[in-house]
């Protein structure tokens, strides 16, 4: 027990960050599961985080209510943005969500109520580690359930081939928007938890590079099953600490290690690290698109 306490004293914040990053990675996973590449998750986290932080600090709302409102607002913005944007495909969608993210970041940077570049300072520390992991467990469970539901299968068919899915009578717009909105909701929730973790949030913590990091977690872990993004978030958030432990100097080397891992995974393990653990004989929830690929 004492050892555990010591571990938390040293690595407590790391453990919290892993949880938050895993939640954010799952929020992006929801959109990726429907085949939509979004780079806007960080912006939704910003919306949720700032809303929740401001409500707690300036309006005196209770913690849970603030986080819930932030999450719902983020989901609503996701709905409003998603409807027009999801008509775009592939790279174009990625760029549209990216520009949305930049606009959100710049707005946050210039408003008074968000504290501008200095950030929102003085948010009470109300998020507990068990709270983060309870949320993560609930989110993981819901997503695993969602996968087996009608909506889950619709997401998957849209990811495999959107035109064919539409031809089968699936309302692709509805399901793509659903995935995007759910993703925004979860990102907003993670943002709200994050805001109450650190006393301060700044616009820099929700920029383009964060959106790219979330994508990297998903790719490295694997987007073929719900625990892939969590695994990616865990490994890559913990990696700097592990490297520090093995005595690797700071800065460039650690950064290069991140890039190298990503490169190796995409070249040799296109379905992510989870594909190492799954036996090849058993068909996975998401059959790789190789079968579909041959016709191209």
């Amino acid at each position: 027990m004492e050892a555990l306490g010591q571990f938390f004293a040293i690595y407590g914040s790391l453990v919290n960050f892993i949880g938050i990053n895993a939640l954010l990675a799952l929020s992006l996973y929801l959109t990726l599961a429907a085949g939509q590449l979004s780079l806007g998750s960080a912006a939704f986290a910003a919306i949720g985080g700032y809303t929740a932080g401001i409500l707690t600090m300036k309006c005196g709302f209770p913690f849970l209510l603030s986080v819930a409102i932030g999450s719902i607002l983020s989901g609503l913005v996701g709905l409003v943005i998603g409807l027009p944007v999801l008509r775009l495909r592939g790279v174009f969608l990625a760029i549209a969500t990216l520009s949305f993210g930049e606009v959100v970041r710049i707005i946050v940077l210039n408003l008074d109520i968000t504290g501008g570049a200095q950030g929102l300072v003085g948010i009470p520390n109300l998020t507990k580690t068990w709270g983060i992991y309870l949320t993560l467990a609930l989110a993981g469970y819901s997503i695993a359930r969602l996968r087996r539901s009608r909506a889950g299968w619709c997401f998957e068919s849209i990811r495999e081939d959107e035109t064919a899915a539409a031809a089968m009578g699936i309302n692709t717009t509805y399901y793509k928007t659903l995935a995007f909105t759910l993703g925004a909701l979860l990102a907003g929730l993670a943002g709200g938890l994050y805001a109450h973790l650190n006393y301060i949030i700044t616009p820099r913590e929700f920029g383009f590079s964060v959106a790219v990091d979330l994508l990297i977690y998903n790719i490295v872990g694997g987007v073929r099953c719900w625990y892939g993004p969590m695994l990616g978030a865990f490994l890559l958030t913990a990696l700097p600490e592990i490297l520090r432990g093995t005595g690797v100097a700071a800065g460039p080397v650690r950064m290069a290690a991140n890039g190298l891992i990503l490169l190796l995974v995409i070249l040799f393990l296109p379905n992510g690290l989870v594909s190492v653990f799954t036996r090849p004989g058993r068909p996975q929830a998401g059959l790789p698109p190789a079968a579909v690929a041959e016709e191209v």
Binding site: R89, E102, N258, L262, L263, I266
Partner: protein, 296 residues
């Protein structure tokens, strides 16, 4: 009035650098339909390498410029060989290509950080002799003129090359349809590698000009131009070279005009990205794009 004219001229100068950067971006997209997010890292390395050649190796800028541009072209070849060629046969090659280009961007950026340090640096004071011409309240430096001249020369040269030269025509043939090009006896893999060479060389050239124009270079200078470059190629139409040139100039102008009108530089990027967002929603093929929206 003079102030506005001065701003417009400045906008054209910086716009020509944006254009040069975007031309390389859009060239690769036109040929491979892949967004090469490592382009900005090559841009950074180009600028820093030229500085190193001038400062440490003692070359004159007129030698350092072509040397650094060539080195960036070689980086492009490496990029193609390591990150793109292995994925070419894969069904989701635009998606996995995007990811592996992110991986290469991280590796290149960490290389820049490791080789040249994290600090902001500048070219030595007398690298280029600067005259200042004044008409009324407008002033133009010879450096600005040289930057625009070099940028335009490279862009016009590229356009002529693509239209006239045999290799240029082969690039366009591969862009149109690589299978047909292969049937016609074009060495497709060689042409793609060559495209990366040109694209990255132009990116490196843009990096040097950018460093000279703003008189500052840093390992993360690619971050902001990366997003601006995306905006430019969307505005001009993905894959369109004239579109990228005109889009770059328009983007430069819009930046300075926003500053001139609102009186602050805070909203500069917000306006640009809002325009980008609107273009994507209303006319996703861009101003000069002739292609239909591609299937993901």
């Amino acid at each position: 009035m003079d102030l506005l004219a001065q701003q417009l001229i400045n906008g054209l100068f910086i716009g020509s650098v944006y254009g040069l950067f975007a031309v390389g971006y859009t060239l690769v997209f036109g040929v491979l339909d892949i967004l090469n997010l490592a382009h900005a890292a090559v841009f950074t390395l180009g600028g820093l390498l030229a500085l190193w050649l001038v400062e440490t190796a003692g070359l004159s800028l007129w030698l350092a410029f072509p040397a650094s541009v060539l080195a960036c072209g070689v980086l492009g070849l490496i990029l193609d060989r390591v990150a793109f060629a292995p994925l070419r046969q894969r069904a989701d090659s635009n998606f996995s290509g995007l990811i592996s280009s992110i991986a290469m961007a991280i590796i290149f950026e960490s290389a820049a950080l490791g080789l040249f340090g994290a600090r902001t640096v500048r070219f030595p004071a007398h690298t280029v002799s600067v005259h200042i011409w004044r008409w009324g309240g407008i002033s133009i430096t010879s450096l600005q003129v040289e930057i625009v001249a070099v940028a335009l020369l490279l862009m016009v040269g590229l356009t002529q090359f693509l239209n006239r030269a045999r290799a240029g025509k082969a690039i366009r043939a591969v862009a149109e349809n690589d299978r047909t090009a292969r049937l016609l006896g074009i060495h497709v893999d060689g042409i793609i590698a060559f495209t990366f060479f040109i694209s990255s060389a132009l990116g490196g050239a843009a990096g040097i000009l950018f460093g000279l124009y703003f008189d500052s270079l840093s390992p993360d200078m690619g971050r902001s131009i990366e997003l601006k470059g995306l905006a430019v190629i969307i505005l001009g139409g993905m894959g369109s070279i004239p579109g990228a040139i005109i889009g770059g100039l328009a983007f430069g102008l819009s930046e300075v005009l926003t500053v001139a009108i609102t009186g602050t530089s805070n909203l500069r990027d917000a306006v640009a990205f809002t325009v980008l967002f609107a273009v994507l929603i209303l006319r996703p093929s861009g101003i000069f794009g002739r292609r239909k929206m591609r299937e993901a």
